[in-house]
Subunit: 380 residues, 2 copies
């Protein structure tokens, strides 16, 4: 059942590409009512092999009850399948459908970030652009990828190098589907929430700190035991931040780069771990700690503020220290980042919780020191 009293709606303001993000409980079951009356005849549901078994049935039933036909295509689960080759196979499936897809076809993405990126890309290029609706199923997708219209696939030369900006018609975030999320996946999303707090909203950091237990608890049946209203509030606040950044800078030519906080070193740590040993959220957590270290050494960020961020990350089960990285190797990886401009390493550094600035004068010795810092013992 959809409980309207808890549902939050955030408007993503992008002129004639504006749309709404709904956050609440029971939304999947209510999707049919949402789509009804919009004139669609056919839904192409894009999901992955994991999510399909859990939630595709309920969503399909809800959509069919509103009179649209539903046709499902599945991406094999896992980032390694987010490729142009897989996209091409899905396009063959979609364009081979009888009756043929047309302007009255809606693409619906049901899944995490990989599914959202792939479904959005398919929607962007099939028939030169179809409308699409996102139903993210991971906290990371809820608070990050679901808002902003970035779609695409990876390439041998790098992640997300082929794609399009294609804003969805709407986003439907149902916290119920998070119950079955592995706790490590929840932590991935939490790292992005802390990131949003540091770049834009000190109050959000306080909220996360005060509610860490309500958010990260696991119930007896291994399902996540978060408090529903707290999760809805957390997601809604994060979507608002992401939405305001994206509204200001849709195509990432300016402030949208603030969202890279924690990611410059974080990505390099991920790459140094060959994208296997370290989860994305763990990498971003360590990345924020390392980048805060640079900000502190520059006299930008008071050490009590840096310490506070570490405490919150720690309370969410995210790592704040990890040894074993070769600082030189991490630096070298950073030199091949697509965020580099004119051979300069750019980094988003905070001067306070909620206040960041982009610096393009980051020196090798600062990065080496920051990576070494990650290997040192933390004084709590």
């Amino acid at each position: 059942m959809m409980r309207d009293d808890m549902t939050r709606v955030i408007n993503v303001d992008l002129g004639d590409r504006s749309y709404k993000v709904k956050v609440g409980s029971g939304l999947v079951a209510g999707a049919g009512a949402l789509v009804e009356g919009l004139g669609y005849r056919l839904v192409v549901m894009v999901t992955d092999t994991n999510v399909s078994a859990l939630y595709a049935g309920a969503l399909t039933e809800s959509l069919r009850s509103s009179g649209v036909d539903v046709f499902t295509v599945e991406v094999p689960a896992g980032e390694q399948h987010k490729t142009l080759e897989v996209a091409s196979g899905l396009i063959d499936e979609i364009l081979g459908h009888k009756p043929p897809v047309d302007r009255r076809t809606l693409v619906v993405a049901l899944g995490g970030g990989v599914v959202g990126d792939m479904a959005g890309f398919l929607a962007a290029i099939v028939l030169r652009g179809l409308n699409w609706l996102q139903c993210p199923t991971s906290l990371l997708a809820d608070v990050d990828a679901s808002t902003g219209g970035k779609t695409g696939v990876d390439h041998a030369a790098g992640k997300n190098l082929v794609g399009a900006f294609h804003q969805p018609l709407g986003v439907m975030i149902d916290v119920d589907v998070l119950r079955t999320l592995p706790v490590a996946e929840l932590a991935n999303g939490m790292a992005e929430c802390v990131k949003h707090a540091v770049i834009r909203d000190a109050g959000l950091l306080d909220y996360i700190a005060a509610n860490a237990d309500n958010l990260m608890s696991v119930s007896g049946d291994q399902k996540l035991g978060f408090k529903e209203d707290v999760m809805v509030e957390l997601i809604a606040r994060n979507v608002s931040i992401k939405s305001s950044v994206v509204s200001e800078d849709e195509l990432e030519t300016g402030v949208r780069a603030d969202l890279n906080y924690g990611h410059t070193i974080g990505h390099a740590l991920e790459a140094a771990s060959d994208f296997t040993g370290l989860g994305h959220g763990e990498a971003v957590s360590l990345g924020m700690v390392a980048e805060n270290r640079i900000a502190s050494c520059r006299g930008l960020l008071p050490s009590d503020r840096a310490g506070r961020v570490e405490s919150v990350l720690d309370s969410l089960g995210l790592p704040v220290r990890r040894g074993g990285y070769d600082p030189e190797a991490v630096w070298n990886i950073m030199q091949h980042d697509k965020k580099m401009l004119d051979g300069k390493t750019r980094m988003v550094l905070p001067s306070d919780t909620g206040s960041v600035k982009i610096y393009d004068d980051i020196k090798e010795e600062e990065v080496l020191d920051a990576v070494e810092f990650l290997g040192k013992e933390r004084r709590a």
Copy 2:
């Protein structure tokens, strides 16, 4: 040499996606000057195996002289290579380039419609969108595809089913490169010019009629012997018409469909000929004659107006009668057109030169009669 006195500039008004179309002589040699100062480091030139041998050298030299590096990728010549598979191979080439492509990379399309569609699609999806410049090399691309931002590739299920709307940074139409165009290719473009005249501009039909000899002459060395100023004027007038239609309806939800005049039956004739026996321009020419027949039978179009259009097409070497088509087969093909809506056959019919309207009540018997009409003798 660029001769500024003859150069015409048409503004395509699309808000923050507006751009200019330059039409003149000597523009390829002046391309470097055009790009200079825009901040690009690298040009990815997309061309085809035919055009490459003729004009890629001059364009490359001009661009390099302005300080940008140029890297060329080639599409095999011919519509059969306008596929996602070929696009994927070109993406591998582009993303494999060292130093890597980045925001300061400009895609330049040098070629006809296939090259423009492919290059624009690559520009649309590499790094989620790069800027691109079009240098069309056929009259058809000059007056049609170069304006409007439709990009994409064909699919087994139909033409242009995968793609994006991605407006270029600018279009540079150099009439010099038309000298080496096969005369049949010139006729393809002329059919679209007549189409533009019928849907929007009676004066343009007069201009074409008065200048048919100046436009279609072939000189001793088998090169086209058109008068330069007449060709520039013709192209500029056609780009203006296309531009005003596109400005009014960028994503083809309304009046842009007027551009389908002659194409509903024309496409079906092409398909009935298996896309081999009949050139696109020939098909459009016959399509206009057949659709005019329907308009005349409905009492919409006076027969002297229809006769005038036929005379102009004939003077351009385009066919106005052709027998041998099975009317039923043509009708059946039309039932699978992607322009169909709710199972209704839509058609753009003129009531006068320069005045058309879309009808969605086209009956089978009207189409059968019109195709039969094509097989009858013309009374001049």
